[in-house]
Subunit: 358 residues, 2 copies
């Protein structure tokens, strides 16, 4: 097409696009992860993320990073910090595996279940103290084995049972009634929400509190703020001083025992194992994910707009690679997460999940 | 703001938006289904759909309805039609429940499993002829009961086992080797793809063939074409004459036995049950859904862009209500599908799924 007013068609189009973006017409600033089947893109995920440094600068981002988003289980490292900072972990002699489990979305494997039961026993509580509701172990062989042994899933198999055991220990430690510990006005939850607010450097009035899948309060905060929190884990002295020792212990426990933070063949476990202490990772429901590059001092928080977790690992590995956190050797060990294959029920590869725009 | 060149700011903005839309900059023509938690929208699904009449007119639509989209299990009514039209259903004396199951994504409840086994027995085949791969029954109590009885899921529990039994019967009926029936060049699949092409009035060259979750070929076609196919079910004589009797029998079987097309507390089953023969419904994986208003002569095909099935029922019920297919009395019985509640593991309501833009 010939130029109009001496300006090329491409330049007109570009100017129009920029204007349309300014006026907020153009959705689609988000990253895109696509799912193929055969020759076609079958489904597509829009992803918002914030990558920040420990000084609070946003290094890279996509989508709206100032909107309030529930942290879901990515809040567990903060909750575990509250439990440790309170003195409850020392009072009940929690092991590092038990501290890791209190920050976990575990797979309900036998060792996870035993560890949660051990935490309850140390705090002097019966298994029935857990009010997180029951679901089958995320680890399918463990779920099958449970049923095949004639048992049904109990609350201790819930992926959040370690967190609940930690909160219950906090309640016992403070002398408050463990019953009713789910409520937002229970002293244990009030203490946890206050710790979250101070760790995130956000007043509670600027966050929102909802109810998580396991019944406890869950905070919503901007991806920007949570990315900065995870970036600052490079140096816990950047936080209010009363939290620095607890943060160090939670980081050490999670990175020493990645198999207690998620489970067999789970992304967070495999990412932390491969990164050998360089990365702390904690995903949550509805496509939320948080990670920290512990030496580089970078924090990455991700929200898949539609809540589908399958878009998380490709995006997170891509960003950690791009920003130098995961080198080629580590990426080679994480290739199944970078571009996961889509298989049918018979195990045949029928497509893949891949980044279309990071 | 003051007018520029005598044109108001709103008019400029509107003109710019229209131009941007024409140039394809503006995503977001899709319908939107949102998922709330507490006070916030936590996740959001973009949905494309085509609502067409039997004369091929698109009555309403959102998103790109001319892009190729895999039908996934929504192709099953077409496949069942191929099986019946071939004479295989008569040759093996399939009951109406068995015809319904050959168009089903069943829940693996005992009656579904027994019916699939009966189809295989009638065709003279062992259970091991099924090559769909195994997965646990979709119906959780049936899955639990299976494991608690010491058994693992088999291929017959796969939601597609009725379709596979039908295809195997077609292979036996035609005298071709049932082994290898998954391949796109197996005579049974060649026959089925040809029937699909003729029913959709689309040459195979204008479709795409991928591999479905259960291993068989699956066609991709525009939402527009599939919506017209389902609309035309109002009068099977609108199709090539050799298919009209088979189409009538498949429609009759599916609407007479909705409990064989999906299962207990499943959307397609409940929608067809409530509609008492007015609606035929068949969903598929990755957020695909097809339905037919059998008296009104409307067809509705839906694709959730990210593949999440939870957005399907709110959108489908909303559209069927809006276009007069579901009246207030029927909608009252489907309220759990129109705006499903989000519950946590303890059963507490923490949010809802609702239409933001239809």
């Amino acid at each position: 097409m010939s130029p109009f007013l001496g300006v090329s068609r491409a330049s007109w189009k570009n100017a129009l696009r920029m204007t349309a973006e300014m006026l907020g017409f153009v959705k689609g600033d988000e990253a895109i992860v696509e799912v193929t089947r055969g020759d076609l893109v079958e489904s597509e995920h829009l992803v918002c993320y914030a990558l920040a440094d420990a000084d609070g600068r946003v290094v890279a981002s996509r989508g709206d990073i100032d909107r309030l988003v529930y942290l879901r289980s990515s809040a567990k490292p903060l909750i575990a910090t509250a439990v440790v900072a309170s003195g409850a972990a020392d009072r009940f002699s929690f092991s590092t595996e038990e501290i890791a489990l209190s920050a976990a979305s575990h797979s309900g494997e036998p060792k996870h279940v035993q560890t949660a039961l051990s935490m309850l026993a140390k705090a002097g509580l019966p298994e029935t103290a857990l009010q997180c509701g029951a679901h089958a172990p995320v680890h399918e062989p463990s779920a099958e084995a449970l049923y095949l042994s004639g048992q049904r899933p109990r609350a201790v198999h819930n992926n959040c049972s370690g967190k609940h055991a930690g909160i219950l220990a906090l309640a016992v430690h403070r002398g408050s009634d463990p019953d009713g510990y789910l409520a937002a006005d229970h002293p244990a939850q009030v203490e946890i929400l206050d710790v979250c607010s101070r760790l995130l450097d956000l007043p509670l009035a600027r966050m929102r509190v909802g109810v998580d899948g396991c019944g406890i309060p869950v905070i919503a905060a901007p991806l920007r703020s949570t990315a900065i929190f995870f970036a600052k884990l490079v140096d816990p002295d950047r936080f209010p001083r009363e939290f620095a020792p607890a943060l160090r212990r939670v980081i050490a426990a999670m990175t020493a025992h990645p198999d207690y933070v998620a489970g067999t063949k789970r992304f967070d476990t495999d990412l932390m194992t491969v990164a050998q202490g360089d990365v702390l990772a904690k995903g949550g429901a509805e496509g939320y994910h948080a990670s920290a590059a512990l030496r580089r001092g970078l924090g990455l928080t991700v929200k898949v707009a539609d809540g589908n977790y399958r878009a998380v690992a490709p995006l997170v590995t891509n960003r950690l690679k791009e920003f130098g956190v995961l080198d080629a050797a580590r990426m080679a060990q994480l290739s199944a997460y970078e571009a996961p294959r889509v298989r049918n029920h018979a195990g045949l590869v029928v497509g893949e999940i891949r980044i279309a725009r990071a």
